[in-house]
Amino acid sequence: MPGIVSYGAYIPIYRLSREAIGAMWTKSLARGEKAVANADEDSLTMGVEAVLDCLNGMDRQEVDGLYFATDSPPYVEKQSASIIRAATDLREDILTMDIAHSLRGASSAMKAALDAVQAGSARKVMVAAAERRIPAPNSDFEASFGDGAAAFLIGDSDVAVDIEGSYHLSSEFIDVWKKPEDSYMQTWEDRFIRDEGYLKILPQAVSGLLKKHQLSPKDIGKAAFYAPDARTHATMARAMGLDAKTQVQDPMFDSVGNTGTALAAMTLVAALEEAKAGDRILYATYGDGADAFLLRVTEQIEKVRDRRGIKGHLASKLMLPGYGKYMEMRGLMEGEAGRRPARRSSLPVIWRERQHLFALYGQKCRSCQNIQYPRQRICIYCQAKDNFELIRLSDRRGKVFTFSMDQRAMEIVLPKVFTVVDLDEGGRFYSVMTDRDTSKVEVGMPVEMTFRIQLEGSGLYNYFWRVRPIRC
């Protein structure tokens, strides 16, 4: 039976306490904190993180598709999935697509992947969802929205979670919307949205699913489903006849926040981290209707445990010092005009160097075996000409050889930590260290690669690999 072969997740390292948001607007907010993408992260880079987590131990060559769901893509026109595919070094001859415009994107992608596998048109399909929405300052959304990502590899061999069935419901109900010209999401009175939307549509899909499989709510081991906030989540669980204590997977509103399209998917990953063979899991998403899936965990789950997933990423965090840095990271306020020359980019260069920029291929000299980055014509060690093989460096780790911390760089999170890294298996890589606590940066510290926005220039996001202290 086709199903989930592997899973992965990502939560950015920064958290903003609701207390800090409340302090900004002099109001008291609910407890907890939310995950905030670093200034060099967006839904695309978080998607890369989740996909790489999910690919741990998997054969990248067998992935025949990548579907990426988000409502906060970096580009409105220009696919994100193709860049995620390139960064994660999946094959070029596969189907990539973005699924947007609905909070239900993650499950739509899963259904499409499932259908492709069942139809035999793909062996394995990667499904990823990521969200980095920018809520209006001082809105209810601001306190609740968090950033994060999840990914599932769908296939029909080595399946860790059988997908026994699904039920889909489409609805023209309008709850939250955003027009292209809108800066922020809009919504209606919360009581209407809750009573007519959340409490009816998703439970209706779940009940349709259970009926189809002749099951009742008590047959569900764990339910991972979407809700906009903790209170509504609890009310929806009751409406579906689920016991909050034993049957409901915590959707992490107090620690991550509402990650939109990625929320139910991340909650499912959290459930899978705890699941045992034989467990029956309900996975349901909401938005313009609802999708509900009936899942059954297999013995194979034990073989896909070694992931950072939700648990690993949740435990690894840095608190933002206050609202100001968050405001700067999300560009909520216009800053002082720069006097330095504007940054520029060049599409021909990005295209020419794509293998080296996106999947971080360096070269190994066939004459002297030395690994080097960026690419050369003449070996920088032995001066042999054009005698290299390509070698992927994005999954390598290294140790800091030296570093500096620039307080005046054109960067939101200062200081900008320029880092020279000697890779454990040879080669040296020079880049910027991100997601770091500057008091802990030192020569010799181990680091790993992470795909980030290196700069914005000429109207483009220029993605590249930075390094970070080993996350977890």
């Binding site: 330095r340 504007a342 940054r343 500096s404 020569v443």
Partner: protein, 404 residues
Amino acid sequence: MESLKDKVAIVGMGCTPFGEFWDKDPVDLIVDAAYEAFEDAGVEAKDIQAAWVGYTSPDTAMTGIILSSALQLQYIPVTRVENACGTGAETIRGAALGLASKTYDLVLALGWDKLKDAGFGGIGQAFPGKWHPVYGAAPEVGGAVARYALAATKYFSEYGLSPDEGKRLLAKISVKSHYNGSRNPKAWLRNQLTIEQVLNAPMIAWPLGLFDCCGVNDGASAAIMCRTEDAKAFRSQGDYITLKGAGIACGPGWGKERVNYGFTTWEETEAAARQVYEMAGVKNPRKELSLAEVHDCFSIAELIAVESLGICEKGQAKEDIESGAWEQGGEIPVNISGGLKAFGHPAGASGGREVYEFYKQFQGKAEDPSRQLKDVKLGLTHNQGGHPGNFVCGVTIVGEPPSK
């Protein structure tokens, strides 16, 4: 291969004060430096047969015309050179080659820069992303401070200095340079500093603070040169200097990306020094040199440069700095002028300004008698562009003409 030693003489020099000249444009700086040199040599602009001009300021057309139009040179060859912050050394070397080949008899080498019209401190990006929009664009690989700071971090770690010890050591270099500069009328920053002031200054790029850094500014320097056999037509023996050697080393780069690059030695400096020591016949620079003007764009740059020049054993700078070996009255005065630290750094002008310091010291014209060195015979100037792992370095040795 013949040595340049003593083939070429410098018979006139000019140097503007360096500073933030809101009321001067590039033409003002060029004219002021050139005319000081013309008057010093007793020549006129029309006597100049060829010129070399070096600068990095990007806002003008990148040609030699800036020099010919400023000085109204009439249809003579002008070669524009650039080696980033090491441009000055290359103007003098180019001029020397023109003379040694006997293509010309009297030439002008002039370096200038006007960096304070940019609206920000530090070296601007001439062409953002001209080489690589993601990997190589200047802000992504770090500004000059961040890149030199990589070397400071590594030097501390390599030689077992704690960050506090390392910063204190570097602070002594800046204190010395400001003390030297405070007595030099043409220097820009003439205030003296204490070690505590240096240590407490705002951080620019850890571990380098504000007073570990030189500022960029405006200025020009110029030299009138001829072949040594013609020098007496301009000045008496003992009043002009000859070129003992001029070395330039362009590194293969990629130090930040090459595992065998250590960050604590400037290989380009070592190579340029080898070239020039061989030309000049210098065996023991520490003993033979009367002074060294080294490229101290940052405190760590002076430290590593002095070691790389072979003036101090590697890893031994601490002993030298603590014993005062590089101070006036020490074994070898380093940056007796005040260096880039006290002068500021109009990139194209600094190399010539270093030679100007030797020229004046040699002539006994150091202005403030308290900074006049005695028995000045041989001087080394060190001028480099780029950043650790990616340098072009010029080392020039000038000295007393041969006695005959």
